[in-house]
């Protein structure tokens, strides 16, 4: 009897699932025989680096594979129904109605030409579950449950008229429209700022629990999954590493790989010595204001960076972090204020600056993909600044390229003739670092250089930067929205909001109370590995609000 009860309780049962993807004319296994079971109302977290097969596995739970992929073996039973080999018609009946999917980028998943509520109504009306009028009424209820502002009216907006976090919540509401048994969340908060992320997380969690919906939560952020999931499954290159109850997994991971994932956020570099009194700062911004068209993006920014230090600039998207970097680099002329390098006023635009000056200040971009010319081999990428700034040619240049590659821990013989497309994300970012180093700079601006990378890879980059700083006495301006990164490497922290500097000071000052109001919000929104963290923070905020 108990056996049948368990059978009824079982919603999703994936056995020995194998999925192949086609690349270069050959089929490669990207999911290598994974089992996954999910009971009704249970949330399982899938974590792993990119390429681990998380998304592929998540989509397979819908009986779906992306173009160029195929299921080559195993079985997927959803509520007793076999999905492998099921007809399109059968799958169509399930999709949207009983299994729903929430994509990473809500902005890309919504059709920009239709109002939110019309897109909401589509699934329930098509599946014949509700009439359009019912669906609209229902939408308002779910919008309210997702804590969207103005739930009666928000559905009549177009996707571009609401913010990213609201859009992601509207998308979750849409997925809930038919009250599915299973929702697949594919990195729903990865693209959001921490302060928005916490709202989305709490809304998702409450709705999913209220409706007793089972969920597969895919993410690479451990702290997030710790808040959401009952169980965690760790994947690596299409294989399962281990699976356990969330608390057990956090407290006592068994496998080395999992332990290394857990340890990532523990990296702290050794503190730098105090700045001697009266030392002339390397870089100074004084009263900088800047506009994009009529819109003011920087408002009276004062910033001082001392030699050999790392200054982290944190803030949400739109806070003016990157614009500050662009002003320093001379890509955007400020309307007011001066940039001073070693006490000398810099001309406003890069064209007016002497090459010797350009050489000493370098910038590394967030997206290494677009920062490397896809048609240039590594030899040329790194060789050009050597030739341009230092006049190196022929053998001397070749030798220096190899030296730089060794410095960034890439094997010269293997990598020197590669094209960017033949590198992984972390390797590309390393090449960008080497390109900046080739100019022999004193000051490097790192613009979110680890945010597009997996945590393990990002940690490698941070360690590399730290080592280079010690060996070469470099100065960094490190722009990021990730406070964990700030904790790892910064000496000083600058908090920005809406084009202004809200607070600045040494790392210890910023991270220990008392905080500015905004800094407090920012700090408390960063997820921690503690599974009770979200509850604690939310409880704290609720009591704080009425007061």
């Amino acid at each position: 009897m108990t056996d049948t009860a368990q059978q009824d309780d079982l919603l999703l049962d994936i056995r020995d699932l194998r999925i192949e993807g086609r690349s270069g004319g050959q089929w490669h296994q990207i999911v290598k025989g994974i089992d996954l079971t999910l009971k009704r109302g249970e949330i399982i977290g899938l974590i792993g680096e990119s390429g681990a097969g998380k998304s592929t596995l998540g989509l397979a739970a819908m009986g779906y594979t992306k173009g160029g992929c195929r299921i080559s073996g195993g079985s997927i039973r959803f509520d007793g129904q076999e999905l492998v080999g099921a007809s399109r018609e059968q799958l169509r009946k399930l999709h949207g109605a009983r299994i729903a999917y929430v994509a990473q980028s809500a902005a890309a998943a919504f059709n920009p030409a239709f109002r939110l509520i019309n897109q909401y109504c589509e699934a329930p009306v098509r599946h014949g579950i509700m009439s359009r009028a019912q669906a609209k009424k229902d939408a308002v209820q779910l919008y309210r449950a997702m804590q969207l502002p103005d739930p009666e009216q928000i559905g009549f907006r177009y996707p571009h008229q609401v913010s990213g976090g609201q859009l992601q919540r509207a998308m979750t509401a849409m997925a809930m429209a038919c009250r599915p048994d299973l929702i697949i969340f594919d990195e729903p908060t990865t693209a959001l700022d921490v302060t928005t992320q916490i709202e989305v997380l709490s809304a998702i969690r409450r709705v999913v629990r209220e409706h007793h919906t089972a969920a597969i939560y895919i993410t690479h952020d451990l702290a997030v999954v710790a808040q959401m999931a009952d169980r965690i499954k760790v994947l690596l290159k299409g294989d399962e590493v281990e699976e356990a109850d969330t608390r057990t997994m956090l407290a006592d991971p068994q496998q080395d790989y999992t332990k290394s994932l857990w340890a990532v956020r523990a990296f702290r570099r050794d503190p730098m010595p105090e700045v001697p009194q009266g030392e002339r700062p390397l870089l100074q911004l004084e009263g900088i204001s800047a506009f994009y068209g009529p819109q003011k993006v920087l408002d009276d920014i004062d910033l001082t960076v001392h030699r050999g230090r790392t200054v982290a600039v944190v803030g949400e998207s739109g806070s003016g972090k990157t614009t500050t970097a662009r002003v320093i680099m001379g890509l955007l002329a400020p309307t007011k204020g001066v940039v001073r390098f070693e006490g000398v006023d810099l001309p406003a635009t890069s064209r007016q600056r002497a090459p010797t000056l350009q050489r000493r200040v370098q910038m590394i971009h967030q997206m290494a993909d677009t920062a490397l010319n896809p048609r240039h081999r590594i030899r040329e990428v790194i060789g050009r600044p050597l030739e341009f700034f230092l006049g190196l040619k022929g053998r001397a240049k070749e030798a220096r390229i190899r030296e730089l590659l060794t410095l960034i821990e890439l094997d010269p013989d293997e990598f020197i003739d590669r094209l960017p497309a033949e590198l992984s994300g972390g390797q590309k970012q390393r090449v960008c670092i080497a390109r900046a180093l080739a100019a022999e700079p004193e000051f490097i601006i790192c613009d979110e250089i680890t945010s597009a990378l997996d945590q393990l890879v990002a940690e490698g980059i941070l360690r590399l930067l730290d080592r280079l700083q010690r060996e070469m006495g470099l100065t960094y301006l490190f722009i990021t929205h990730d406070l964990a990164t700030v904790r790892s490497i910064a000496d000083e922290v600058v908090v920005m909001q809406g084009g202004r500097i809200v607070e600045q000071g040494s790392k210890d000052e910023i991270f220990s109370p008392p905080h500015q109001e905004y800094t407090e919000l920012l700090l408390s929104s960063v997820p921690e590995m503690d599974p009770d963290w979200l509850d604690t923070v939310l409880a704290g905020r609720e009591t704080a609000t009425p007061a």
């Binding site: 680099m329 064209r351 090459p355 910038m363 920062a371 010319n373 341009f388 390109r435 100019a439």
Partner: protein, 285 residues
């Protein structure tokens, strides 16, 4: 170059058909005097000779050998089309890339000039200019090249603008790279694939345009052999042809020969262009 050779090995059948046909036409064009059995403009037989030895594709209204004229026509029409396309690409491509990279007043002025040129129907514009300048080969090439460069300008400017938003361009600008480096080393390699594909398409259009002008009597002038005017000269034969026997029916087929040659080359070029486009879109993955 090596890249394209390696791609050639994996080219699909359709691309190979195109390549072989283009090769065939190029050999005809290059070695026309050696291949053609009769001279281009000499009267060598009776008028309207049927398809029989020694005039395997008959003779035209003046008694010139049609097969020889087709072969020389390949040389004239294709040669001029190629020269025109190359000129149009140099003109339109360079201005387009410059306009995108420099921006500002250069972009403004060149774009407006292109707008004006594109606002006038090109066939009517070409007819007007050619009536004024006369129909020498040189003015034909220049007029069509200028008209066609407007399309090339638009494409290269749009492609370059896309590329110029990339971070690697910003890196190069921050380094203080000059204009030649930016265009030649950063933009052009990435714009090459769509431009090559456009080259093939443009070539077809130019080629059809010359044929159309010749058909209207303003293209290559007689007695020079070219496919467009050959269609025109033999077009009226369709209505007079006697289709009762095979021998007499060949007169009716006469205009189809140059027209077929035009169509075949156009299809061949497009087959190759499709393949190039396929490769270039694959690169973006």
């Amino acid at each position: 170059m090596y890249y394209w050779l390696s791609q050639l090995r994996e080219a699909p059948v359709s691309a190979w058909i195109g390549i072989v046909l283009i090769g065939f036409f190029s050999i005809l064009a290059i070695f026309a005097p050696l291949i053609a059995p009769f001279p281009e403009i000499a009267v060598v037989g009776p008028q309207y000779h049927a398809w029989a030895a020694p005039h395997y594709l008959g003779t035209d209204g003046l008694g010139r050998d049609v097969m020889s004229r087709l072969i020389f026509g390949a040389r004239n029409t294709v040669g001029i089309a190629l020269a025109t396309t190359i000129l149009a690409f140099l003109l339109g491509g360079i201005t387009g890339l410059l306009a995108a990279t420099l921006g500002g007043w250069f972009d403004m002025i060149s774009s407006r000039i292109v707008d004006i040129l594109m606002a006038i129907p090109s066939l009517i514009f070409a007819l007007m200019i050619l009536t004024i300048t006369g129909t020498s080969v040189l003015s034909l090439i220049l007029v069509i090249a200028v008209l066609d460069s407007t399309r090339v300008y638009r494409l290269s400017r749009a492609v370059a603008q896309d590329i110029l938003t990339m971070d690697y361009i910003e890196v190069a600008r921050m380094r203080g790279e000059g204009l030649p480096w930016l265009i030649r080393r950063e933009v052009l390699p990435n714009a090459a694939a769509p431009l090559i594909a456009e080259f093939g398409l443009r070539f077809c259009f130019v080629f059809l345009f010359i044929s159309a002008l010749s058909f209207l009597g303003l293209g290559l002038q007689p007695p020079t052999a070219d496919w467009g005017s050959m269609v025109r000269e033999s077009a009226k034969l369709i209505s007079f042809a006697n289709f009762s026997t095979w021998q007499t029916a060949t007169f009716g087929l006469a205009p189809l020969l140059p027209a077929g040659a035009i169509a075949l080359l156009t299809v061949a070029v497009n087959l190759v262009v499709d393949w190039v486009l396929h490769i270039s879109s694959g690169l973006k993955e």
